[in-house]
Symmetry: C2
Subunit: 261 residues, 2 copies
């Protein structure tokens, strides 16, 4: 299972400018470099604090005062760096989105090379997508709020989702049982999109008929993709649907043949 450090966006107040004050006594050139470093550290601390607040309260509840306190700096420093509240929110969204992109990249690299069957690759991909969406829920929510006013705001998110799925497509192209399926690329693109939509909407639809627990949720979304793709279940392709212990494997069956004679 992939190990995404959920909540790593938390700012650590130790990294704020207060701890850098000792550098004030150093010579001019070093001092300039130290000031730059301090400035960057402060900016990072402010953005991390903003991101943590975002995930907890959404951007409508974002208090500039609380962010400054959390980052261990002054509200003046916050306005000085980002102009106004909107500028700060924009910068936080960009940082949040960079982090989503980074998480996606890091984990896709694992997902696409480490697994022996297309079923395992797809399952690991879904696991990853669920984690990334959960971890950065606040950022997605904020971008969606903007996208409902101006659809352009969703473009980077939509593009990242499609790019990630295209990497899944490319990883699956080494499996003959996948490439034998007519339209498999298009079916995978849409199946993954539908699964991501189902999970995403469950974040605001409390009555969504999707299991809340991580493992069960991943399994349902995986099955949706695999059955729409029309991928024959593991039992048909390789090695039987049981693992060494004789228990049914979690990702063994797609719905496709469960009901066929």
């Amino acid at each position: 299972m992939l190990d995404v450090p959920i909540g790593s966006a938390k700012a650590s107040p130790e990294r704020s400018d207060r701890s850098d004050r000792q550098t004030d006594a150093t010579p001019p050139k070093n001092r300039r470099l130290a000031l730059q470093a301090r400035s960057q550290a402060t900016e990072k601390a402010l953005l991390d604090a903003g991101l943590a607040h975002f995930e907890a309260h959404g951007f409508e509840g974002l208090s500039m005062q609380a962010v400054a306190e959390y980052a261990g700096t002054s509200i003046g420093a916050l306005y000085f760096r980002f102009g106004d509240r909107e500028g700060f929110i924009q910068a936080v969204l960009e940082r949040g989105f960079d982090q989503i992109r980074q998480d996606t990249d890091d984990l896709l690299a694992k997902v696409t090379t480490e697994h022996a069957s297309p079923h395992e690759v797809i399952n690991a991909f879904v696991d990853l997508a669920v984690r990334v969406q959960k971890k950065s829920h606040g950022v997605f929510r904020a971008v969606l709020q903007r996208a409902l006013v101006d659809p352009k705001a969703w473009e980077p998110v939509g593009r990242l989702g499609n790019d990630a799925t295209r990497r899944l497509v490319s990883a699956l192209s080494r499996f003959p049982e996948v490439v034998a399926i007519p339209d498999w690329e298009a079916r995978l693109m849409f199946g993954v999109y539908a699964a991501r939509s189902a999970q995403f909407n469950a974040m605001y639809n409390s009555q969504a008929p999707l299991p809340k627990g991580h493992v069960a949720m991943v399994h349902v979304l995986y099955e949706l993709i695999v059955s729409y793709l029309g991928l024959p279940p593991i039992g048909r392709v390789g090695q039987g649907a049981k693992d060494q212990g004789g228990r049914p494997r979690k990702l063994a069956t797609s719905s496709r043949t469960r009901h066929t004679p």
Copy 2:
């Protein structure tokens, strides 16, 4: 194909209070009734005008002045009736939602009784769901904007969606090939939810890998539901996968057997 009058939310200015002004000369009792009727007609005209504006501009762009003009009444009448802009938006959302419920009811009645195979019932249901979501896009979008701040706002929409799918479940319970599928109710609930989510998100995600044309979109969503459900294709159950003209029927195949030997 179902015939939803897209855009029926448009207010007709003739129905506004201006055309009722002649009743001012009638005797007291009739006059009171006429005034009540006029008041209701004005309210309806205002709400219809609000709904039409909503669908066109979203509620962030809703101008009270423009709504009053469109409904053929004064901005004073608008504030008198609804208190403030927020009160008006709330009333418009309620009216929009009533209309969604009514559209859903009317069309579900058709969908669930008029079709001979489960495939046709599911296809007609998807067709309906796509139309209702498209027609009331502005209302859904406005409710979603509120739900992103307070998830309670989505509850009536989530409930209506689940209720509609439960009626589909009930309509499909008369088909032996459906009830033979293990967990068919749960699979149908989730499959329909995923399909609706995929369509819904495509309304703000311009890069969604979902066809834009109505027929193609309905077909993809139908196939998603049927393949996840694990429903054997028409060819297996009834009468062959071709219609009288020898052309393949549009809803003939689920992905399930297309790739099985």
